[in-house]
Structure formats: C-alpha cells, structure tokens
Amino acid sequence: MDKNKKNKLIKVYILAVIILLVFFYYLGVLVKGENYFLSSFSLLQNKGYEFFTKFRYSFISYQEAQDLKKKNADLKHELGQLYYENAQLLAYKVENENFRSMLNFFEEKDFDYIVAKVIGRDLNRNNTLIINKGLKDGIKNGYAAVVGEGMIVGKVVECKENLSTVLLLTDQASQLAVSVVFSNKTTGLARGEFGLSIKVDFIPQDIKIALEDIFITSGLEKNIPRGLVLGKVNRIISHESDLFKTITINPFINYEEITNLSVILPQDYSDD
C-alpha cells in the first residue's frame, strides 16, 4: 500500500513539475535555460545530421557513378551556355539601371541573410527542416530559405526563440508565387507534389513555356524577393479546352542533402 501511495505521489509530483515548467515556458521565464540547452545541443545535432546525411549518400553504385559522370559533362556544357547568357543579362541590367536613374525610380531593397544549420526534421511531419536560428536572430514566418547563390528550398513556417521550422517547397501545403524567368509577371502558383517535386498551377494558356525553362520567385509575396530559382520545367500538362495549364518543376538540388541554408531577411523586418 505504501509503495502504491509513494508511486502515486511521485507521479503527481512529476506532473506538477511539468505543468509548472510548461506554465513558466509560456511566461518566458525558461527562455534563458532553453537558449543555453539549444545552443549547446544544436551543434551536436547538426554534426549528427550532417554525418548521417553523408553516410546515406556515400553508397553510390557503379551505375550511378557513370550516370553522374555523364550528368557532370552535360552540366559543364550548360554552364558554358549560362555564362554567355549571364553576360547578356548583365548588359541588360546596366541598360535597365540607366533607364531607372533617368526616370527616378525607387531602388529595389537589398536583402540581408542569415546562415543557419539544419539540426533535424519535425518528427510528426515530413518535408520539414529544423534550423538552429529563430526569432532572436530576426527570422519570422514567411521568410525564404535558400541554399547556394539563391536557390529557394522552402519557407519558414514556425518560429521559436532559437529554432525555426522550414517547410520544403515539395510539401503539399507549401505555396509560392512564381514566374518563368523571362516574364516579369506572376505566372502561377507553385505547390509541392508528394514530397518529390513542385507543381505550378494556374498558368494561363497564352504564356509560352518550354521544357527546361527556369522558374523563379515572382516577388509577389512580401518577404520573398524576386529572382530566387526554383528549378527547371520537366513536364507540361496542357489541354486546349482548359483555361490554365500545369507544369512540373524539378528542383536543381536534392532537398534530402541540405545540411546548411540561409534565410533571407527583408531589410525592414523590424517594422513587421
């Protein structure tokens, strides 16, 4: 009987402690403790996550290695073409800047960014990444998460003081206003498809899109600048009787291999 009483008392005690902790958490009393815990633990988590991500991809078969060699050669050729296109675009940019200064347009805002490490994924939701930066670093919901030189991979959907959750573009709940690279209007709405690719709906039939066209963010959304690259078109679904067509985009990078990313901070985030 005594043992039962003691067990009950321990359970009540533990529950009371947890309720108090939850209460203090919402009051903000535990923030310093949480900061300390997360800052010391997140480095270990990131190393663990990086190691096992590389471990997973270290077993590449011979056939895959051959495919990679061929793909590498194709990419080198494509890179050469892109260098040429880039040079052309730079020339247009200079011309554009001259026109703008002549007409006294406002300059586009510059965007700052913060580098974050991926420490894991949400256990109850696929297609998410948890990063070790949060509200105290200036990150807020709706900010773009990018890798490399401006390839958008997702949006911040949940922010805590020291952590944020990024929802990848391949998730079905993810939505982003996009345009094809040669258009300055919003072309369609990008949504994830089964965690594997990105689908763009509501593209008017009169917009001419071809395979391998590059899609970028349109700049329609407040905190996401124009020009962040999503990927290339790999399928076009269009029927003459439909008002809109749908395309599927293949991202340039494998979202499963992301271990570090940057979050773009709009310049006037403090005014939000």
């Binding site: 663990g48 996550y49 096992f52 994924r121 965690g195 499963e256």
Partner: protein, 174 residues
Amino acid sequence: MIKYIYYLLISLFLVFIAQSVLSPLGILSNLNLLLVVLVFITVIFGFNLGFIFAVLIGFLANIYSFLPLGSLIISYLAIIAVINFFYKNVFINFSFYTILILILIATFLNFFIIYLLNLFFYFLGVVSLYVIVDKIFLLNLLWQFLLNLLFITILYFIAKFTIKKLNLAFLIKK
C-alpha cells in the same frame, strides 16, 4: 535522484537519435523510435517507468515540434495509459505477439492523437501547418507500422537474451 538524471540523459539521447540521426536516413526516418521505446518500457518494465519516460521524452521532443509545448506529453501519456490498460486487462497472457499488437495499437493511436491535436491547434490559429493525409503520408504511415514492428522485435530479442530475470517468452504464460 541519480536514477532520474539517468532517465533524463537516456531521454535526451533518444530524442537526439530520433531527430538528428534517423531523420536524414530516408525510409528509416519513418521509424517512430520514441514511441517504440515508450511502449517497450511500459510493457516490460511497468507503467511507472513508462510514465516517467513519457513525460521526459514528450517534453524534450516537444521543444523541436511545431505543436505547442505539452501536446506531445499529453499524447505519449494517453498512449501509454491505453497500452497499459490493454496489457493488464485484455492481453493478459503476455507473449511476444502481445507486444507486436500493442505497438500496432500505439502507432495507430499516435497518428490519430497527433492528427487531431494538429487540426485542433490549426483551427485555433496556434499553428500554421496542418498534416495532409495523402498517398505519401499513408505510405509513410505504413512504413512506420512495419519499422516499429521490426524494431520492437529487435528490442524484445535483445531483452530476452540479455536480461534473463525478465523471463520473456514467445507464447507461454509469463
């Protein structure tokens, strides 16, 4: 007191493995390690220990979850309470197959409770994400059932051959 520190360290280690080690490993990320360990502890070592681990693991895992703090604690406590009820009142002839059925029940309960909690908080406006039950989600859930069964089998065999005093069996009464 020292044993509670051990429990806390074990819980931290389990959350680290689940969050940062298993999550990049493709199909293995569908294994619900925390749930399997909780069910195993509740059934093999008793409800009291299961209770303590449910609270500790729920608290630590909730720090990284998009659900409000406390949700996972409630979820895990509810699951182990149901599992303990089934174990004590329904599957009274304990065997290896009992634990397999219990983990299936726990996996289903976990999906159900998390889904309901997510919807509830989404409609309240507390969270901005909701779980979409589509083909891929159901496929991942199926993988979770299979991997949970596999992992608890491994745990059971390890416990059977290493902790003799538990006197674990396959079909005969415990």
